[in-house]
Symmetry: C2
Amino acid sequence: MSYSDSLSKLLGDLGATEGSKLSVVNGDRTYVGTLMPHHEFSAPDILILKMKSGYNVGIRIGPETKVEVLEAPVERTKKEGEVEFKKGLPKLVLIGTGGTIASYVDYRTGAVHPALSTSDMVNAVPEIRDIANIDARVLFSIFSENMNVEHWQKLAEAVAEELNNGADGIIIPHGTDTMGYTAAALSFMLGDVSKPVVLVGAQRSSDRPSSDASSNLMACARFCTKADRAGVYVVMHDTSGDDSFAVHIGSRVRKMHTSRRDAFHSINAAPAAHLDKDGKMVLNIDGPRVSDAKVVAKTGMERACVLLQYYPGMDPVLFEDIFMKSKGVVISGSGLGHVNENMIPLIRKACDNGTVVVMTSQCLNGRTNLNVYNTGRDMLSAGAITVLDMLPETAYVKLMWALANTSTPEEAKELMQTPLAGEMSDRRTIDV
Amino acid sequence: MSYSDSLSKLLGDLGATEGSKLSVVNGDRTYVGTLMPHHEFSAPDILILKMKSGYNVGIRIGPETKVEVLEAPVERTKKEGEVEFKKGLPKLVLIGTGGTIASYVDYRTGAVHPALSTSDMVNAVPEIRDIANIDARVLFSIFSENMNVEHWQKLAEAVAEELNNGADGIIIPHGTDTMGYTAAALSFMLGDVSKPVVLVGAQRSSDRPSSDASSNLMACARFCTKADRAGVYVVMHDTSGDDSFAVHIGSRVRKMHTSRRDAFHSINAAPAAHLDKDGKMVLNIDGPRVSDAKVVAKTGMERACVLLQYYPGMDPVLFEDIFMKSKGVVISGSGLGHVNENMIPLIRKACDNGTVVVMTSQCLNGRTNLNVYNTGRDMLSAGAITVLDMLPETAYVKLMWALANTSTPEEAKELMQTPLAGEMSDRRTIDV
């Protein structure tokens, strides 16, 4: 679908093309913005402008509307930066995956696309070259909602390869949608990685004035070069302002807002570090420190795992097939990790069949404990296990990994209940 | 399983029975607490004491351990309070459902049980009788993880009955696990209810010194009698202290911590009111006001609905049966409401089959918007709808209700996208 014939003619007569800067006067309102392509969800006589704020508006064009072209479209130019190697600076390798941090608005479709090259991204933050030598490599260019288990595996392998080839740290620009899941996956796959591996995202694409892409990237590079902390982390805005950044432990972080720049929160743990816009850093964790140990990626994942949220009315008959076909089931239960008692026979049947059933809480914050109430105890008797204060999403990722890296369900359960990458508190529930 | 023979003999010789207050000296540590029954997850030589903090500890009893009985068990006595009707005071009806707020520790099993009568609860807060005449009625006595759709229906009917019989407000003591779901269900079933209907819970049972049961109940009664606000609400602690209470809109509230007393948060909306411990109230919403209109409970619910969380690695083949058998599917997608593109053919197939597919966000906070990225647009084309900033749990409850109260999927979609009980913002996304 495209603009109506009359609207297309009007635009053609004015010499306006997609990307042109227009002024549109409709009655007493004036809109100034960039002409976007027509969109199948709008009527054909609605003209779409991208405003300076980054938001699109649809304007109905009537006989009285005055449209004027202010500027021709800006040509996108891509240039590879000259790579100047500076002696004495640490070497960081950017491994590009896609996402808003590496995206621009496609004027053909009006949507945001992952398309900037990783070196474009570095060139957008020239001061990063003052603190590190940057190598950039594009591994994929996808939105993070399309990230899958095999992407995690390839990414872990690429990280290990770069670190073993001399990188002092890895920066992974990543879409924010599933950045928490990927961070958890890398946390387990890379185990006691000897260098910082930091995922970084943006909630606003780099064509928007409020973009957080550059400042997050800079904070990320500072943490990698100055903190002396190994492990998998996520760096994002800590507040809605542009002057504070949080470094989250990769297995403890969750996207908690659809659009705010400070969408990422550490859950059940403090952030590992905070940075301000001048690079001043406060570290909240003691270790692990950077070393020269070889990095081994253990990327095995059991795919037959599911993550389910319990809700009143959940029908055990409807979910039986999923429980029985899965090697691992993570349930985000209510409260301390509960489900309706009518689910317990199914949990027992699955556990008896060798499925590992792990209870977490949809409250997200706080510890699970199945010893307080009767239904919880029945679940323990049925064979379910709890994992203290581990996030449901992290538990799902860890369960895939634990099942692939052990030989029996019992070993996998033991591994699930052992802290490996900061993903759970070290204190076991007292089983009384 | 019970305590070991030697431990049972020791306890018998001392005259200690379950509920006795004991002092146990083990090396240089002394424990004082209430003797609990043995628990099948502990070794038989571990003695279980409930400490003053409310937590249980397990103590291994060796030959050197000194055990002493300090006090005999406290007998639980239940007495019905004399009901004195005070002229001029409003009439509140408590409809008991169970939960921690109405529970005590069962010394036979060591677990918390729903068992106090609703009038016991009122008697525990005698000052409530200064502001209202209280009628109490026990509808069920279950933990809220066992609440089901038919419980919501019975509860809505009981509320309507009591209000139409002259109650000025309804207080519903409820387990916290699924209190948010029940509040959402009542919000839609009771529609424009003309009086306050307020759910109230407790995170600590009333035998614990830190119990929040009484203070939440009192704040609830104050809101019901003084606020002049109709609708369905939830009252809980607003902070971890005992001096501040929040009144949440029933369709906007979520349990966000497994154990804290201030576990309940309003999401994407401010609380309707705040109260302090002296009853001082700040109202944040203008309406709706109390009236004398008859209350109608529309309790129809389409049970063939599911709530699913999207996660990377979600297998569309495994979930096909659930999508095709359901009349309604709510997905808490990633970010703005996304799923992996490999899920989209299944969403299309289900929509073509007449299933209503509703996208929400697992971020919980913020609005969904499927118009920003390509995968989102593909989902709209497939037939999925979004519901702005509605919580996934509320969307699931509302979808059951909408499908039962309309004749076609299109009507149900329209109803889903229309704010009915404060559950979503009133501003539609601009479809550009």
